[in-house]
Structures are given as structure tokens and as C-alpha cells.
Symmetry: C2
Subunit: 186 residues, 2 copies
């Protein structure tokens, strides 16, 4: 098995979730999809604004000052069976997902994707319960449009989301869920 740069190898024999972040699980899963020619899905780099750079040589530049920027889109996108896939992933240690965790333009972006015939969703892990859900954008939007609460409760995910089971490999097979719920992928 290949481990992509920056992803820590799971050295324990515990294949459950403990010790691995949601981001690590998704990165390993995407690497599995890529290695097995199933899908081409990547995490986007974190957007930054570079202010000062030291050019030691042409290929050896060191950034001396930069700022993190608010992302205008989501963290992950790619291609599966001819379909454009786009999603954001969040972990929460609470019994709900605070909406402040998702930027407004990210929600607009997810909406945009569905309007242009792509597939968009969020993946949310409830860390203390060790349960990971896939929630389609339409249900995210429905909640935002019909509720005044500032967080989405666990129960909403339990009702409208789909549990993504943890496996040995791929660790978090979210495409399996999509194949079941999206007619384009059947």
C-alpha cells in the first residue's frame, strides 16, 4: 500500500477510527481510489497569501511570511464515473455541528455544484460517538432554510444522513454510499 506524502502510517493494529483524523482517513481513501483506478479525487491545498519569499536559488524558494486565507470553495473535489464530486469534511466533538464551521461561500459553492449537475455533500464525523455521516447538500440547505438554530444536531444527521462505515481498506468508502443514493452512479 502506498502512503501519500504527509499522511501518517497507522502503525497500530487497531483499524477503528481512534488515532486517525477524518482528514487522514479521507486522504488514505482517496489514495486507494486513485491506486485502484476507481476515482480521481484530491484534497485542495490550503489557500495562503504569500508576502515575503527568500529566493535562495531558482528552485529553492523559502516563504518567510504568509497568511492563511478563507477558502472560497470546499476541501475536496474530483471525478468518479464521469461525475464531478465535491465535498467538505468536518469533525465535531459536540453532539451537533456548529454552522460556524462551514463558511457561507462554501455552502453557496456546494449549492452551485448541484445546480451545475455535479454531486456535492458534506462528510461529518461525531468524534466522541465515532460515527461518520455523509449528508447531501439538499439536506444541508433544507436545514439552513427551515431552522433558526446555529448548529445541526446529531439527530438530523441520523435522520437524513448516511453512515459511512469504517473498513480496513478503503478506510472510509464514501463512494459506496454515493452509489446507493445517487441514480447517476448506479
Amino acid at each position: 500500500m502506498n502512503y501519500p506524502g504527509g499522511v501518517k502510517k497507522n502503525t497500530t493494529k487497531n483499524y477503528g477510527n481512534r488515532g486517525m483524523s477524518l482528514e487522514e482517513d479521507i486522504n488514505l481513501t482517496n489514495q486507494y481510489y486513485l491506486n485502484n483506478n476507481i476515482a480521481v479525487i484530491y484534497k485542495k491545498p490550503v489557500p495562503i497569501s504569500v508576502r515575503k519569499v527568500d529566493y535562495k536559488s531558482r528552485n529553492d524558494a523559502l516563504i518567510k511570511e504568509a497568511m492563511f486565507l478563507v477558502p472560497s470553495t470546499t476541501d475536496y473535489n474530483g471525478l468518479y464515473k464521469g461525475c464531478y464530486i465535491d465535498f467538505e469534511a468536518k469533525e465535531t466533538k459536540l453532539n451537533n455541528l456548529p454552522l460556524s464551521n462551514i463558511h457561507k461561500h462554501q455552502i453557496n459553492h456546494l449549492k452551485n455544484i448541484e445546480e451545475h449537475k455535479g454531486i456535492s455533500f458534506i462528510i461529518v464525523r461525531f468524534v466522541l460517538k465515532d460515527i461518520t455521516f455523509l449528508l447531501e447538500t439538499k439536506h444541508l440547505i433544507n436545514f439552513i432554510d427551515s431552522e433558526t438554530r446555529k448548529s445541526i444536531p446529531f439527530e438530523y444527521f441520523n435522520k437524513y444522513g448516511y453512515i459511512i462505515n469504517m473498513k480496513y481498506t478503503p478506510r472510509l468508502d464514501y463512494l459506496e454510499v454515493l452509489r446507493i443514493i445517487r441514480s447517476e452512479l448506479k
Copy 2:
């Protein structure tokens, strides 16, 4: 007209190419596509590896040391009429495009996209001639597989590529070219 963050406003009345980089033209074009609900295509952030961060406050982190990473994919991707779009853009001041300008894994990525039923290509501007071409991945791969030369000559683009005309708005309407050459978009 809205100008996205980081894109310089063209303050001259010269609507030709001079003074605007290929990247600026593509960013303005993508912004136009987005504003007019035509397509959702973004430039990916430059990948970096952050080494040192000063956390002044929770929302005010200053990166004090970071390195640029070699990108594993292309600069631009997105969604148009339900189709996944993916491309790399390059400028050259020569009469050819040195293949060293495109990383091997970027070429593999472009190939991967076509295999998974996406649409991939490169956009190449010959700066001194002020001509911008769209070259489909199949022709890029054909050149690499059949030639031993380390650069793609202008003549190859002239034969197998499609000229993208500069307009007032959108500046570089590459989707117009795709509508003509790709049956999925007709």
C-alpha cells in the same frame, strides 16, 4: 464587473493581451463564468508545506516559514454542464513549449481525467506571437509518445490545437472552444 481577490484590474483601455498574464485572463474568465452561472471553475491554491506558524490569536495566524511543493495535479478544475473540466495553463516566450514546464505527474493526472470520462487539456500562450491555444490531452500524449523532442513546437499547436480568441468579456472563452470540439457539450 467584479474582480476576484488578487486579480489586478485592467486599468488601460487596451483589451488585447498585452499587460495581462495568462493566469489573470483565465481568472477573469472563470469569474465571468461564475457570475453568469455558466460554469464553476476555480484555480487551485499553490501547494505549500508550512513549517513555522505564529499564532497571534485564534483567527490571526502568521506563517513564518513554509516551502513551495511540487503540485500533484493541475492548476484549474471545475464543472461545466455536468462535465468535469481539468486543465493546466502555461505561457512561453519561445517558439515552443518546453516539456520541462509540465511535471510528469501532471501529465498522468490529465490522462487519468480522460480515462475517468472527464475533459482535460492544456492552455498554452505564445507570448511573443500573442496567440493562445487549447490542446486536448490526447494530442499532448500523442506528441510525448511519438516524439523524442523535449519541447512541443508552435507548429504542432497550430496543427492540433485550437486558437482561443481574446474578447472583451469573457476575456479568454475556452469553453466556447470545448463546445465545438467535445460532443458531450453539444
